[in-house]
Symmetry: C2
Subunit: 353 residues, 2 copies
Amino acid sequence: MTVLPLRPPRRVRHETVTLAHGGGGSAMRDLVEDVFVSAFAVHEEGQPLEDQARLSLAELMARGDRLAFTTDSFVVDPLEFAGGDIGKLAVCGTVNDLAVGGAVPVALSCAVVIEEGMAVATLRRIAASIARTAREAGVRVVTGDTKVVARGACDKLFITTSGVGVIRTGLDLGIARARPGDVVLINGPLGDHGAAIMAARGELAVSAPVASDCAPLNGLIGALLDAAPGTRLIRDATRGGLAAVLNEMAEASNIGVRVAESAIPIRPEVRGFCDLLGLDPLYLGNEGVAVAVVPPEQADAALAALRAHPLGVLAAAIGTATAERPGRVVMDTPFGGTRIVDMLVGDPLPRIC
Amino acid sequence: MTVLPLRPPRRVRHETVTLAHGGGGSAMRDLVEDVFVSAFAVHEEGQPLEDQARLSLAELMARGDRLAFTTDSFVVDPLEFAGGDIGKLAVCGTVNDLAVGGAVPVALSCAVVIEEGMAVATLRRIAASIARTAREAGVRVVTGDTKVVARGACDKLFITTSGVGVIRTGLDLGIARARPGDVVLINGPLGDHGAAIMAARGELAVSAPVASDCAPLNGLIGALLDAAPGTRLIRDATRGGLAAVLNEMAEASNIGVRVAESAIPIRPEVRGFCDLLGLDPLYLGNEGVAVAVVPPEQADAALAALRAHPLGVLAAAIGTATAERPGRVVMDTPFGGTRIVDMLVGDPLPRIC
């Protein structure tokens, strides 16, 4: 990101982005100042913006003992959909990656690759959405980068966010930490995001049954960890869905996982959507679903904490970790049978995040 | 990045990348393990790879008092060129953004957006280049992300790297800190990168006159700061070239800048290339050129330190900060005249980084 002097922000002079806006000259500076810096308010300290943000290590250490660092690229198509847009997704995705590791998110970076011809008005809406979601999550966007590529060299807009956060002392979450007897919890219904994106593509002649669940989960996860400090692991069920999380956990922890299909919350409209299209909601991507594994003696407190949070009113205990069939995920069906829940080779839905 | 269990890394089963490799399922896991994780050796601690990397804050605090955080997307075309490739560029760019702010780089993230159909062999070469450059810079790639988009939705490969580093206590570099009388230094010749990229595109019917200068500058900058601890600011002259850096500095510091054209190192072959194509090397992007502004009493020591480093053998003092014409960059020409060096509206060369 270019350096910005101390004066009123410049305004971009075009309604669409041109290659000149990515060239490192004054056109790029105008675009960055007008669209991104003004939205993110990174300028609040009255300092010129440098290529790097600076954070006091003493202030970070007051909050925990380890720095968490994560990154994600977002290529969702379409850019805007029921319940969110690529900007909201880019903030939530990285905030949630930090939060599921037990970190309190502190600062985000935001790098954009823009296709020539992109409407500046759309960029402004997405930048405003990034800013709003960051405020909601209590995190600041502190640095960024802007590239513009020729028409046809990228599809409209890609955003990469990285995040730093602080992990409180004593917390030790990890995908390999589940043990037999542990209880598997989720905070909300499956498939809302995947269904919203599919419907938004307009290829299916179905209307959006539901809005994306895209949300920053750091508040919910903080409440969960307060109530259940012995929590073994938390994961967000994004690409690959709940099935991928349960399989990764089963393999990494060398345990079996047994879940009850009837206990898994799924909205009736999402179930209907999946039935119509022959999809399994276990594999649909989510952007507001956390899976937590807690020791049995803390399961009630953990579930109560989830349900007390606005993003967890439909939280449920969906299964347990077992000593049997390590590495395998088995689901009890409502008809008294069982089936293996495998990891898919690939997601049937590209570009859902 | 998906979670990786403790077992031998999986191998990707195709020679080209398919959409399934971005879907969050087992195909993506195989690609990530085979191509990226094995190259980056992020697995060295024998722990499963989580979505976030964790760094000890106590260890960071032992090295300085502030955390630096930066990000850059790389969309260079072509992916490979004389002197480097997009992977080397992605490491150097972020390492250099940290280093010019006075930070010692500690850890990088690496997020890739891959076009369906990309050759896995090319990805492997680029991943190896990332790993090699990171080793050279003394920094670790600790976390990442992989997305695959359909053919035509991106041009081959984009890489976004973010970096964290530590700024040593007492150091205070900033674009607004130059004062009249300060000396402007650069470590090496201008335009090598821009010329190498233009030649590599093959559109100009000229062969590569020179290799890109792409290099991690953190070692050079460390040596400079040891020799000249009063250094006011350092910038790398990437997009927009030397002209952009000098103009940003003149504006932010509210000083004039006066440079001598004859003092600016430019390789004869790059000068010839520019003459042939009507380009001004002051505006060409570089990936291994640092501009440093130092107080006059430390200028000799600073220049000696630069020249003693392998990346600074052609270092030169090219001008001074002045009280006259604040905000303006003026160049003395070899013919006894002067000319204003303005900031361009846009770079004539898109996608050079």
